[in-house]
Symmetry: C2
Subunit: 300 residues, 2 copies
């Protein structure tokens, strides 16, 4: 089954305690698409400026990612994020953020995209996410991400969106902010009460929690000693998860759990280098191999 | 097999965002002993003052905990800790700390204790821990805990101790402080290089990591919605872990992993009420039942 994603495409500048990279490929929908491409055909919608290197589109296409929905704005500049990680490699400061062409992005999805059964609304304004959802009449499994900025500034629009989606993927601090609950188990239940039938709370290096109708569980992150750059880990997680669901064309409880495991594995590779550099060096078999290690790790 | 523990015995005053308790039973060796008593016979050594309620000794004895090694100092006052938890229920402030009789505690272990095969050196001065270790000639499996205070003030004595023990149980911030490593996987390896053949890093609500000769793994905490008071969770974890090892009279890799799971289960009950109140209401079967839920949670 094909999978449609709408979200940011970025040129990132990233600094860690030991290294830095200038103007590298990034953005939520880029990490998502690449991660999902290990499993299924992806339709990517987003916007870039004239500075967008053609080779990046070629790279995405080489992974079977459909870029018909990629708008190139003549004379425009691509969304730019510059960030610096703290020593703990979890906290980070945004040093610069230039929305550029993303500020006026109005997705007009190609008709094929609108028939996709699986839809992921990556981080973005809830109004834009709702607009995309309304275009995608064929979507029967819709998952969204959101962030503190929209919880603080567009809560009503976000609540309206939550009533229309199947699942929400957020990080732990966002789950607490959205619900006012400090206990994540209670926060997960509170978000489900707002609409989505399941919620995934991402905890960074501590893994992810799942809240569904019948079950609650926690899956730890894969313990990699080699954390180079955490940028894109959450989006790769969502991409691995949704890619696997689309491949299996299923979203029952058992398949969802396997999908969370694949999301965890994909994210564990993403953090091992800057940008997509680590993901570009692996194959599906590497994900499966690490998944079996992970299974042994959690068996007793 | 019997299990000997030496550590603090306290009367705690605890405040959480919603409730408070004055002068309740606490202390590292008390939480440890009670948790271990679900699995094996425990020998507890520690010191209390005249204010120590006799009923607490009776409670411990009723669990088969040997209190021959409990010194009562005439005219003395029991160690007192007063703490207040933040809204997140993880961070806490120590509002008052009175060492009282603990300041001059010189353990003189009963001869039976000295023959125990399993020994746990709960949080305390590394010099005192070494003194206890030297008394316990029969101990062939020794695990210790430590804390930031001793890492900062008695590092040499702590390093000498690390060369003599089989395992160290510490929390995540202590592991980072002790090694200067921010990545816990690297910190775990660095502690092993200081002596212990295995290290357990406790991450509170995020579970625990194990570092051994042949394997590294992470086990998440059991996701309880009902966190009332986290005090004693780490000590209960260690008690459940060591109690199970002593019961099985083994410490091979497989048994150690099962022991970490039992530690996780014991701690998950401890946090569901103040002091020992929740542990006092459960039986070994409750631990086993939750363990099976936990196993299902981690299976995919």
């Amino acid at each position: 089954m094909s999978l449609c994603v709408v979200g940011s495409i970025a040129l990132d500048s990233v600094e860690t305690p030991t290294e830095k990279r200038e103007i590298v490929l990034g953005g939520s929908s880029v990490f998502f698409s690449y991660a999902a491409s290990f499993f299924t055909r992806v339709q990517l919608a987003g916007v870039v400026g004239e500075d967008w290197p053609r080779e990046y589109t070629d790279l995405l296409n080489s992974r079977g990612i459909d870029t018909q929905g990629l708008q190139v704005v003549p004379g425009g500049k691509t969304f730019h994020w510059r960030g610096k990680y703290h020593r703990n490699m979890n906290d980070r400061d945004t040093l610069d953020l230039q929305l550029n062409v993303l500020a006026d992005f109005k997705p007009e999805l190609p008709s094929e995209y609108r028939r996709s059964k699986f839809l992921f609304l990556a981080n973005g304004s809830p109004k834009l996410q709702m607009n995309v959802l309304e275009q995608c009449q064929g979507a029967s499994f819709v998952v969204a991400d959101t962030m503190d900025f929209y919880i603080n500034t567009e809560l009503d629009a976000l609540k309206a969106l939550l009533r229309r989606i199947d699942g929400l993927v957020v990080n732990d601090s966002e789950a607490k902010l959205l619900t006012g609950e400090d206990n994540l188990v209670l926060a997960g239940a509170a978000i489900r009460a707002m609409g989505p039938s399941f919620v995934v709370v991402k905890k960074g290096e501590h893994g992810a929690m799942f809240f569904g109708k019948e079950e609650t569980y926690v899956l730890p992150a894969y313990p990699t000693p080699n954390v180079v750059d955490p940028t894109g880990a959450g989006d790769s997680f969502a991409g691995g998860m949704m890619g696997y669901l689309a491949q299996r064309d299923a979203f029952d409880a058992k398949t969802l759990k396997e999908a969370l495991v694949y999301g965890t594995m994909t994210a564990s590779f993403t953090v091992e280098d800057f940008s997509l550099d680590r993901l570009r060096k692996i194959e599906r078999e590497d994900l499966d191999r690490r998944k079996e290690e992970y299974r042994r790790m959690l068996s007793f």
